[in-house]
Symmetry: C2
Subunit: 309 residues, 2 copies
């Protein structure tokens, strides 16, 4: 089993390559749920949905999230009822949230509900939400604390970041199968996802970081920071807000207690020596931009090659 | 106040005329909720929605229910998740059910939730669901008992009707304002709705039939049965199944303990004598088909004329 720790868009794109290099049934993706949000009484799991939609081949490739060709008629009407419409819920996308919410209210755990959605979408990769208990990523800003989606989507990441808090993480357990997957893995890939609010939430769960430290299987990360900026999303603002260098070095430093390899972009080759010498992590330099399917496959082959020696 | 007891399509069409004859703010519609159903975790109130959508001018006039021009993308996706799709939930229509369900889960009563929807849609008629407690119309058929929507929509009213049961009606109370509206009414109109499963459910609520018997204001019904058949819906099958004559006479007989006037169609003028003599209800013969807005206004004028003498 290859285990991938995953956030949303960056991870999903990498997994699109990985399923062409490793049998999809031999991959377990452990996905961040710190961004989950309840809106209009519906339980929404954005990163899980991005991963599932992408692997099912129905994602809106342009945006990286949502379902391709989706319409927004229900959202328009929800707006007429005075509900907030900043979170762009498409009509087909809503079916996922309606179905998930129905299952949760019927007593399913989040991982059981995710499993039902995965099967219905015909996704062969095992996709586990990181926890069945709620963990909420709260961004502490100069305008006060706010839910990650409010910070990112509603307010466009425009507020100064003072800190990050994972609400509920002390009480939460990794979902069934998470620790077992890590412990039994042939290798572990830290996807090119936000190291603070995507991978950081998974690592904050009880026992996950310890399991990664102890496991003997190789652990490979792909830096989501290229040339001092994230390929997508607000990782730079979050890292800067927490006093972390916005670079592949900064990313590696967050994983230094368990990481064996980090794949960094060619533009960052100057960081290789610092990372290797100061953090004792082996660096592989490659083109990490995933524009075409070929890019994704090449990057996945490189990561799997490091695991399989 | 003119009070109207209402089911779905027939009542909504009559109310379209009534609001052009009486100030909308001077009308209270008490609407059947026996057809309400929870599907995919969403609370759906079909008759209330038909009345609200019609009065808001957004109903699909052709079908008589749903929102005009609505699409069905969410429903298509719910089908992909293996959920039943026989109840045709449009994308915009779904917003109503999402909003209502959200309000109910937040502790609103059904009548408070209905009031919020009514205001958002700009409907001036006061619309009260008949009860805040669940009453479920169960049709007992040769294939077993089933929810009214299953009988009507899923199975196309093809099963032989052996009986009708209003589950929960003993424990239910009329919603706040229902009895007060009847007691204080200038006149009461029984809309041309199914006398068994639309008006019958309202009448089965504790105190409603008694209030109608006692009130001095005139009570006028419009027969939904024309020439031995309902204008729309399965009223004939239900009446026949219960051993009630499928005619304006049969309808009048169900209301005989409180009704002052019944408006019957010209094709049924032969029933006038029987109704007047056997049931002591005064009969007015008119064209009761509501095809155009003029038809609706004419019928409303006639009913209001009987009330106002």
């Amino acid at each position: 089993m290859i285990v991938a720790l995953a956030g949303g868009v960056g991870a999903a794109r990498f997994l699109q390559g990985l399923v062409r290099v490793v049998e999809p049934g031999d991959i377990t993706a452990i996905v961040n749920t710190g961004d989950d949000i309840e809106l209009h009484g519906l339980y929404i799991s954005p990163d899980v949905d991005i991963v599932l939609y992408t692997l099912a081949g129905i994602v809106d490739e342009q945006k990286g999230w949502g379902i391709k060709g989706d319409t927004f008629y229900c959202l328009e009407m929800l707006g007429r009822y005075g509900l907030e419409t900043w979170f762009k819920l498409g009509d087909k996308d809503l079916a996922t949230h309606i179905y998930r919410t129905m299952l949760l209210r019927a007593g399913y755990t989040l991982s059981q509900a995710t499993e039902a959605i995965r099967k219905a979408l015909g996704v062969e990769v095992r996709v586990i939400p990181m926890s069945d208990q709620p963990v909420r990523t709260i961004i502490i800003t100069d305008k006060g604390p706010m839910h990650f989606q409010e910070y990112l989507v509603k307010r466009g990441a425009r507020d100064a970041v003072l800190g990050v808090r994972f609400e509920g993480v002390e009480a939460a357990e990794p979902a069934p199968g998470v620790l077992e997957a890590i412990e039994g893995a042939e290798g572990i890939i830290i996807c090119p996802s936000n190291p603070i609010v995507s991978i950081g939430t998974i690592l904050a769960l009880r026992g996950v970081r310890e399991a990664l430290r102890e496991v003997e299987a190789p652990i490979v990360a792909i830096s989501p920071i290229v040339g001092g900026a994230p390929v997508k999303g607000p990782a730079d603002k979050l890292m800067r807000g927490l006093g972390i260098e916005v670079s592949a070095y900064g990313v590696a430093s967050l994983y230094k207690d368990f990481l064996d390899y980090i794949i960094i972009d060619e533009v960052d080759r100057g960081l290789r020596e610092r990372i290797e010498q100061e953090l004792s992590i082996r660096v592989v330099v490659a083109n990490t931009l995933m524009k075409t399917l070929e890019d994704k496959v090449r990057l996945a082959k490189l990561a799997v090659g490091l695991i399989r020696g």
